[in-house]
Amino acid sequence: MMEFLQLEDLRAAWPYLRHGVGMALIIGAVCPLIGIYFVLRRIVFIGVAIPQVSSAGIAFAFLSQGMGWFGLLPGATPHMGVALTGSIVFTLIALLSMGLLLPRGGQAEAVIGLVFVAVSGLSLVLIANAPVAEAGLLNMLKGEIVAVTAVDLIQAVVFFGLVGGLLLVFNKDFLLLAFDRDLAVTMGKAVAAWDVFFFILAGVAVSVAVFNVGPIAGFAFLIVPPLIGLLFSRNMVMLFPLSAAVGIVGSLAGFFLAFRFDLPAGPAGAVFLGATYAVLAGVKILALRCFR
């Protein structure tokens, strides 16, 4: 068993992995707290498209640096601050546009699908033309969390700490808005301002997550833990910690699978979460049928 788990190897590699583990933990804990509202407000498709937009923002930032646009100094080494800025700017523009302007329903889903396809293609086109860091950028988009540095981790702790803290403080306000918007209006709450505030928090969280674990894992940690949480939560109070706990377990499992089988950690975490959801949802359906 110990041999299969390769715990000795893990212990030896720990000094190089600890930042990545820290990153996985914080993304696993905070992204589901935002994702809960994507699921409950039934805007999951926006959750799918936004990480791709974020990736396109990163690619555009590298291209801008390579070409010396916006006063950036062209260089062979990609600047991570530039990439994160590109990611956040693209994400906020797209999220605020889609979240606030699109009506719910079939046509909105079609537009979001169009955005998803267009920005996925745009990312690849921009990468192909970026004179700097093509390989590094591809690794970033794949979700190579093992390469996380101490600076990346501190940056993520600050961003996610801020987002997570604000979500906790204003949890009841966001919940009221999501569950019964009309009631919020009759209470005199500034619903449009709350929407903008929520989408800014979501935009920052998604951008930083995609920057560190890639778009696939970014989406997975946003949406799948809340879906698993919804399978077993008996009330709203239970949903939040349960979803965060599932996110943490998923991120650690993904990290371990990546180490053990030499896989990219982000996608490994996404596969683990997806498989876990399929199994648990199946078990719940069977249990309901058997005990009905």
Partner: protein
């Protein structure tokens, strides 16, 4: 148009030649309406006649397209309004309990980021008890029957200590017994707590038993605004069923 209320009572809200609707589409036009603090008014009319539009406008969910809508102001604030939507408007995906739904009513007293206090929790429990649904507190809201949901939503509105209750088709999808008991509860609130009630419904025979004042919406106008007995008189003159 006839008005079934004494003019000396202070109004809670007043509409003067108001035009109501969505975007540029007028649903109700030239509306003159006064709601007084002790009123129990029911709106009847066919689907699309403007009942919900009226209630949403008063609740502040949609702005009037024209004319004037004035609320009575006490101190520097408009009247506290409790809004009870159609229960099917609330998404069943939320794993929210009946108690958590009622607790939401107390958010009207709380500023952004403020925590719910024990006194608010006690208020929510008391409202559930007043509506005889305290046994449902821990149950998931989406799993309740239509009648139970409406009582929970009414409890949520009551924790706000409203001066005016606005109810949009509150008994749609509710069985006849629950519907009658719900209307009796509204009449009791109006009588004993002095809460003004404005509701939209299709069930005219039931409304005649409980609502002292009934307004009929037809062809984009408030055609009749009268007491239940006057409505009976109009029906006898014009033919039974004209309001359906």
């Amino acid at each position: 148009m006839t008005t079934g209320q004494p003019p000396e009572e202070p109004p809670l809200f007043t509409m003067d030649q108001a035009s109501l609707g969505y975007g540029s589409t007028e649903v109700l036009g030239r509306v003159d309406f006064i709601c007084r603090r002790t009123d129990f008014v029911a709106f009847v009319g066919a689907n699309g006649s403007g009942k919900s539009t009226f209630i949403k406008t008063v609740a502040g969910l949609i702005p009037p397209l024209g004319g004037d809508l004035q609320y009575a102001v006490r101190g520097d604030r408009p009247p506290v309004m409790g809004y009870v939507p159609q229960n099917e408007k609330l998404d069943p995906i939320f794993p929210i309990t009946a108690y958590e739904v009622v607790l939401m009513g107390t958010y009207s007293f709380l500023g952004p980021g403020r925590r719910v206090k024990e006194e608010h929790r006690a208020e929510a429990r008391r409202a559930l008890s007043d509506l005889d649904v305290e046994g449902l507190a821990g149950q998931r809201f989406s799993k309740l029957s239509g009648g139970q949901k409406q009582r929970v939503l009414l409890a949520r509105a009551l924790v706000m200590n409203p001066e005016l209750l606005l109810l949009d088709e509150p008994t749609s999808g509710v069985d006849a017994k629950s519907e009658r008991s719900f209307m009796a509860k509204l009449a009791e609130l109006n009588r004993e707590r002095g809460v003004a009630i404005v509701l939209a419904s299709h069930n005219l025979p039931l409304l005649k038993q409980f609502a002292p004042r009934i307004a009929w919406f037809h062809q984009g106008r408030v055609q009749v605004d009268a007491t239940a007995s006057m409505l009976d008189h109009i029906e006898r003159e014009a033919g039974v069923g004209i309001f359906l």
